[in-house]
Symmetry: C2
Subunit: 316 residues, 2 copies
């Protein structure tokens, strides 16, 4: 049986002794006061987006957003970017590529991220984008996945399941336009033009952090594995995206979208519960806690405590 | 008419005021004594390589080599790398990907370049690789394309046309194996597993530099455009790859492969002729000189002086 992409990366890391792989970004030294971060994300038409569901500027925005989110997940700020494109002949026209770059550079300006390089090639296949970001972080302060300690509380920066709800709308034939009801456009925006969260004003708070790209359950599992800990979360604390109400799903279905849907690009982080109170104006409510039961992730519902299914997105 | 990739990048650079784009790498600050360099190269199956002409380890080698060459073209040393892959289902198997990484990491070890990140995605299209390298260079010493001055001599680090000769062999059905005559395997190696040149032991010599990827004529044109100068080269000084003899081409055909063939990954550079003599053991012979006739590139042959055709590879 072929390996999953996660297993493949673990094998590669072991085989070639790649100590810097395994977090959202690699860390490398800048100067005495700062480190740099770097991350790349490959987005493929037909797999990660469909042309008929989105717009060229949305694709440009999202390609940058997913990488900025990786930098935010390490506690850094995005400063430089590169974007490499493999472009099919049918899209090699001025409006498409110009509009792509408008979406890309619109978000880049908001984050004061400078496009410094990249490449363009032709392809006989789908439009393929590799987005690379260099971020900056205070020396030694990059937040890793491996820093969670038993007793830490678990937080997320915003509502979950919205991007998955947007995907459901797209799958059912809804097309984004300015005329949609606001809950629909809200969900579609979560899916098509995610806005990366950041915690930079709380920079010594998180003990471990990851951005929610694969899905909350899968990303919490990444933290637990890297930290050698377990976790217990509370179903009634999960911040389920309110706009999901419009989709007429059961409570359980909505919770499942929030737990496993992925692509919300909120940050999932752990913090020392005692330190949280020092942060005046800290708005996040804990949704669970880290335990010493290595590898075990449980969810507490009204009736029961049960193992949490790990069900995020896997390419293979 | 759609724009060429070069025109597209120039438009993009102007439109978004991207001052760091236009060299083989972008330069960004490290500390008081060094700068970093960064470059990305997109390689697409069917366009940049064909699976039936090469081997997975050769693809891994070449993906890294082309980016190391960009760093060398700025006078830097490659220190970190990232590789992002879009993998079709048929290649998602252990031997293919492991062998790809063996080729990649074999070259990485030779250059002491550490793989620190990347991404893997599925694709319904061709195998697509984006190779990113971070290099390091002494502060303010990155060699740009724009530094050539009238009167400078023009040099290349090694023979030209070998990679194009290898491509001809592949097109005519030759398959790489250990049993080939040495001129054939030599040409195929130039095409399939290029070894990046470097000039690091002559680090304050080049005034302008580029690596020969598009083709000598095209890359010399890039230097002339960036520097606002012209150039005159001498046909009888062009170091035509000797192994091309085996192909039974006319002298003119061989010269054309050397001038326009591309992918040799030698360095093309300019230097102050007077300073060259200070470098004991400097082995390169000038093949021409930079002139003040902006935009004009001429070639001197036995009979004549004529404008040099600019004929490198363009994706569109």
């Amino acid at each position: 049986m072929p390996r999953s992409e996660f297993q493949f990366l673990r094998d590669l890391k072991d085989h070639f002794n790649l100590s810097r792989i395994g977090d959202d970004c690699a860390v490398f030294p800048k100067d005495e006061s700062h480190d740099y971060l770097i991350t790349s994300d490959m987005l493929v038409e037909g797999i990660d987006f469909k042309l008929e569901w989105t717009r060229p500027n949305f694709i440009g925005h999202k390609a940058l957003a997913v990488s900025i989110s990786d930098v935010a997940a390490m506690g850094g700020n995005a400063v430089y970017s590169l974007v490499s494109l493999a472009v099919p002949e049918k899209l090699w026209n001025d409006p498409f590529l110009d509009t792509f770059y408008e979406g890309y550079s619109g978000l880049a300006r908001k984050f004061e991220t400078e496009l410094v390089g990249g490449d363009i090639s032709r392809t006989d296949g789908p439009f393929t984008i590799d987005s690379t970001i260099i971020g900056i972080v205070n020396k030694g302060k990059a937040v890793l996945r491996s820093g969670a300690n038993p007793g830490d509380s678990i937080y997320v920066t915003g509502p979950l399941g919205g991007a998955a709800g947007g995907l459901k709308l797209l799958e059912s034939g809804t097309v984004f336009s300015g005329d949609l009801e606001s809950w629909k456009s809200g969900l579609l925006i979560r899916q098509l033009t995610p806005f990366p969260a950041n915690l930079n004003s709380f920079d010594s708070l998180p003990t471990a952090m990851i951005d929610i790209s694969d899905g909350f359950s899968s990303d919490l599992d990444h933290i637990c594995k890297a930290s050698g800990v377990g976790a217990r979360i509370y179903a009634d604390k999960i911040p389920v995206e309110r706009r999901l109400r419009g989709l007429q799903l059961s409570t359980e279905e909505k919770l499942n979208l929030a737990l496993h849907g992925g692509e919300d690009f909120e940050l999932l982080f752990t913090a020392d519960t005692a330190k949280v109170s020092e942060y005046d104006g800290f708005l996040f409510e804990p949704i669970g806690e880290i335990t010493d039961r290595t590898g075990k992730i449980e969810i507490v519902t009204d009736e029961d405590i049960e193992p949490l299914d790990i069900g995020g997105f896997s390419h293979f």
